[in-house]
Subunit: 324 residues, 2 copies
């Protein structure tokens, strides 16, 4: 039996777990991320957490995978930029490799999650899939021909910034009409704010305004979804457009990439499970028939532990490739 | 030295050439496609053309590549659907393999062209590239991680049907606001027709109307481009929007796929060479900075012979992979 350690490194918490070859977490711990302490302090937290789990379980470890919300240099294991951690160009991989004397794989968190769903979740046995995560932003991991796509500078899969309305609203990236501006969590909140600001005294806006006690800037996607489920008209307007946009984005993905499976997950979709069949229906109606010959939409399967399992899956996959 | 035969099979002509390992065509012939004669007649044309070239050159042939405008079953060599040839499910590959006793590779024509640019043209030495062809429609071939992307049902790269305006005009595919509807040749003509029909007596429309002698349905992208180069205002309006749309589509490609090189070709861009620097500038302004770390826009290089060279390139690449 082979074991690896998966680490999910975020701006608020660090999750560390030991995972077996079937994707099962055998032991697991959680720490609050010491962002204020700086990169060295966080690295020490990870090091000590791994040491603790190694001692507790006394199992042989083949390698360590770490998923980080940020840009990673894949070959060197340097964290190029991690906004939540406030890290710039930090050599986490090289440091831990020296300290732990084990193979270390640092990857972007969305890609780690995709690896997890591919090996142990909704993507098992599938050679062509896209894992699309709709949270505050929209990101994806893409596997075609049984290979995780990386791209030229390791950013392949940034599909939240596909343009779906080239005259559309400004995005955080500076461009106009990116998928995120309508269907990402921040975009849903922004579109709601826009409507409220245009006409703050309109009776139709009363429910949403009440929810934020008149402070429009406090609007969030979570509140819009809550109001939507209570039948609020403005929330329906915003989310109807978000659904249209998300469906259009999924059709673009199916036409451009031709996956066999589209795995959908993330906080926004967790809050709107009724969207899943609507998105599938929209894709079946609007994507190219030749691209749909063998296609399905499926929900992400691994739940809250996907970060740890996914980071571990990276190690299993990379070590397997090395053996070839 | 190794030689292969490349065949470019289209609805109006068949081009056949013998190509060496450097991508040079040593002997070349062209036939009018006998579409009316049916699939058997066209197959006979190809067979006899290949035989003729074999006899004329007396060179040893390692295999034959055939690029077809249509959907291909990659493993079987069956032409699933080729609208210009009026073929449905025709086993061209198996037939020729039996008749010629040589390895036969049948591929979609856009993918063949991409293979040609990759091995012998603007994509040489590049492991991550997109070849985007803007003609009547818009298609692409995509290479990531040194692999031609195929997808689940062999349709990966149909980027003319990425949605760039989800409230946009109806596409030939039935969806709304596909890239083609603004920037493909048929889309440029359709947008011009739309304007002329809305206001056929407007003085601004006079030049375009004159070009088609008042018959709006006769409008083509070629005429719009001609009028644009003469300074016509309506043509400028249509093509300005086409350029915006095409740039937005290219930004989507760069963000979603993260290629190192975007190779641009096709009839529309051949007619508008001044667009090339504008598209590159637009991408540099609007795509994600992390995706642009090592990125360039380059024009397609192989010119009119790309179909034959590309079909031959497929064979060189596939035979090389088999040796591994």
């Amino acid at each position: 039996m082979s074991y690896v350690i998966g680490v999910d490194l975020g701006g608020t918490k660090i999750e560390i777990g030991i995972v077996d070859q079937t994707g099962k977490i055998l032991k697991h711990m959680r720490l609050e991320t010491d962002v204020k302490g700086g990169a060295e302090a966080v690295e020490k937290q990870i090091f000590e957490g791994i040491r603790y789990i190694q001692l507790e379980t006394a199992l042989p470890i083949d390698g360590i995978g770490i998923g980080v919300a940020g840009q990673i240099q894949p070959r060197t294991g340097i964290v190029q930029f991690a906004p939540n951690l406030k890290w710039h160009h930090y050599p986490l991989g090289p440091h831990l490799a020296t300290e732990l004397q084990l193979p270390i794989f640092i990857v972007n968190d969305v890609r780690a999650i995709t690896w997890g769903e591919w090996l142990f979740g909704a993507g098992q046995g599938c050679q062509n899939l896209i894992c699309l995560f709709v949270g505050t932003g929209i990101g994806s991991g893409i596997i075609l021909g049984n290979q995780m796509l990386i791209g030229c500078s390791n950013t392949c899969g940034e599909v939240g910034h596909m343009v779906i309305d080239f005259h559309g609203p400004v995005c955080t990236c500076g461009n106009h009409g990116c998928l995120e501006t309508f269907a990402g969590g921040w975009g849903i909140a922004a579109r709601a704010k826009e409507i409220l600001k245009q006409n703050p005294t309109d009776i139709a806006n009363a429910t949403l305004l009440e929810m934020v006690k008149g402070n429009i800037e406090a609007m969030t996607a979570r509140l819009v979804i809550e109001a939507y489920h209570q039948g609020d008209v403005i929330a329906q307007l915003v989310l109807q457009r978000a659904l249209q946009a998300l469906t259009a984005g999924c059709v673009s993905l199916v036409n451009a990439f031709n996956p066999c499976r589209l795995i959908l997950g993330g906080g926004i979709l967790d809050g709107l499970p009724e969207w899943m069949p609507l998105i599938e229906q929209g894709i079946q109606q609007s994507a190219l028939k030749a691209a749909l010959q063998s296609f399905a939409v499926v929900p992400a399967q691994l739940g809250k532990e996907v970060g740890v399992i996914g980071s571990a899956a990276v190690v299993f996959d990379q070590l397997k490739n090395k053996e070839k």
